[in-house]
């Protein structure tokens, strides 16, 4: 079964890619159904803002019929779509950052008083994530994308290199600088 699955996935991908290249709108919907969870997950981890993440997902799929011309089949369609989403994320990262800074003071007030253990747990997770995204806001977008793909999504540098379209060495360098800066920033905080 494990041997059959990747081959099947490739066949499905190649059929879908062929239809996307022919401008079939139904193929975009199929691609959406197959990959939206992964794209949304990446977008949310990258920007830390649900609305901005949704805008990235939307733009990535709307851009797909045109972007697919660049797809050479070296990676999976999902990896290619994540790359498209990353390319469209720059503007949304900035808007999410501005929104986060504007609401920083209000954020603690927006949280409701946790009444259960689960709610307390969720609150703590939210607070920790908020700190990480605030630190990510200080990184250049290329380093931020690589950090999220490598560390938050736990992808290999080879895979990330395919997604971002950069040499593997560049990916490693970006990751190294991103981690160093983040550690410096976060360890300074109380």
């Amino acid at each position: 079964m494990a041997l059959v699955m990747p081959a099947m996935a490739e066949t499905v991908d190649s059929d879908l890619v062929a239809r996307l290249r022919n401008g079939d709108r139904a193929a975009v919907e199929e691609a959406y159904l197959a990959h939206h969870v992964a794209i949304r997950g990446f977008a949310r981890r990258l920007v830390g803002d649900a609305a901005a993440a949704e805008d990235i997902v939307h733009e990535a799929f709307v851009a797909l019929p045109r972007a697919i011309r660049r797809f050479r089949g070296d990676s999976s369609l999902r990896a290619f779509l994540i790359g498209v989403a990353a390319n469209h994320s720059r503007r949304h990262v900035r808007s999410a950052m501005r929104r986060r800074r504007a609401t920083e003071r209000l954020a603690a007030h927006e949280d409701t008083q946790p009444r259960t253990v689960d709610a307390t747990d969720q609150l703590i997770t939210k607070q920790l994530a908020r700190r990480m995204w605030a630190a990510l806001d200080e990184l250049p977008i290329d380093q931020r994308v690589v950090f999220v793909l490598c560390e938050a999504e736990q992808r290999t540098s080879v895979e990330v290199a395919e997604i971002v379209g950069a040499p593997e060495g560049t990916v490693r360098t970006r990751l190294f600088h991103a981690k160093r800066k983040l550690r410096e920033m976060l360890e300074e905080q109380p």
């Binding site: 709108r25 975009v28 919907e29 959406y32 159904l33 939206h36 969870v37 992964a38 794209i39 949304r40 997950g41 990446f42 977008a43 949310r44 981890r45 830390g48 649900a50 993440a53 949704e54 997902v57 939307h58 799929f61 709307v62 019929p65 603690a108 007030h109 949280d111 409701t112 008083q113 946790p114 259960t116 253990v117 307390t120 747990d121 609150l123 703590i124 997770t125 939210k126 607070q127 920790l128 994530a129 700190r131 990480m132 995204w133 630190a135 999220v148 560390e151 938050a152 999504e153 736990q154 983040l182 550690r183 976060l186 360890e187």
Partner: protein
């Protein structure tokens, strides 16, 4: 709190959200439809423009006016600037005057009904004010459970506990205060405050013990 904790927190953000996913799918569909429609409109406009251009060219060729189309536009001879003096300004308009307002007839006052006779004032029921300590508890409780700012809620619990450290509601107040500390991300203080609850060292015994134990376990990693 460690770097790994924060990284773990952003890992928790996932993309599985069926309602939002359905809304975005619809948005993508509409955007693609609009784009296709715009493209068709553009193709239609270009086709119409092409036909018009072709038709004009054919007509010009057939009527022999093709040369007129390409001929440079005739240049008008330069004429001297008019030397006539500028027209005199128009005579000042007479200001329209409004007729004097007609005298307002004195209004006839409407007959006013006599007010109903006043009922004799009822004797006020004076409710006894709650004792100050109880009022402090009520205020903290209100802020805690009805969306008060965490700093204000903490101050209210502190005010109550300062007034009544071993009162009827002090155990409840201590527990709630610890939860507010979590909300303020003061994890080490929250951990210390919840520890007696987690160990069952408060009276009544076992008060919120299981929940406190779980929260203490979660907070332990943030305690230096």
């Amino acid at each position: 709190m460690s770097f790994e904790d924060m990284l773990g927190a952003i890992r928790d953000a996932d993309g599985d959200d069926p309602d939002i996913a359905a809304a975005t799918q619809l948005r993508v569909r509409r955007s693609l439809e609009t784009r296709a429609r715009s493209r068709h409109q553009l193709i239609g406009l270009l086709t119409a423009g092409g036909i018009l251009l072709g038709g004009t060219a054919s007509w010009a060729l057939a009527t022999g006016r093709i040369t007129a189309l390409w001929a440079p536009a005739p240049v008008a001879p330069a004429t001297p600037a008019p030397t006539t003096p500028p027209p005199a300004p128009p005579p000042p308009r007479k200001m329209a005057t409004l007729p004097a307002p007609a005298p307002v007839p004195e209004s006839v006052p409407a007959p006013v009904e006599a007010p109903p006779p006043r009922e004799p004032p009822k004797p006020r029921v004076v409710r006894p004010a709650p004792p100050p300590v109880e009022a402090l508890y009520r205020r903290a409780h209100e802020l805690h459970f009805h969306g008060g700012a965490p700093e204000a809620t903490l101050a209210a619990w502190d005010a109550y506990l300062a007034a009544e450290p071993n009162g009827r509601f002090s155990v409840d107040a201590r527990y709630n205060r610890a939860l507010v500390l979590v909300r303020l991300a003061r994890y080490a203080e929250a951990h210390a405050a919840l520890l007696p609850f987690a160990r069952g060292e408060v009276s009544p015994a076992g008060y919120h013990q299981p929940e406190a134990a779980q929260i203490v376990e979660r907070l332990a990693r943030f305690v230096p």
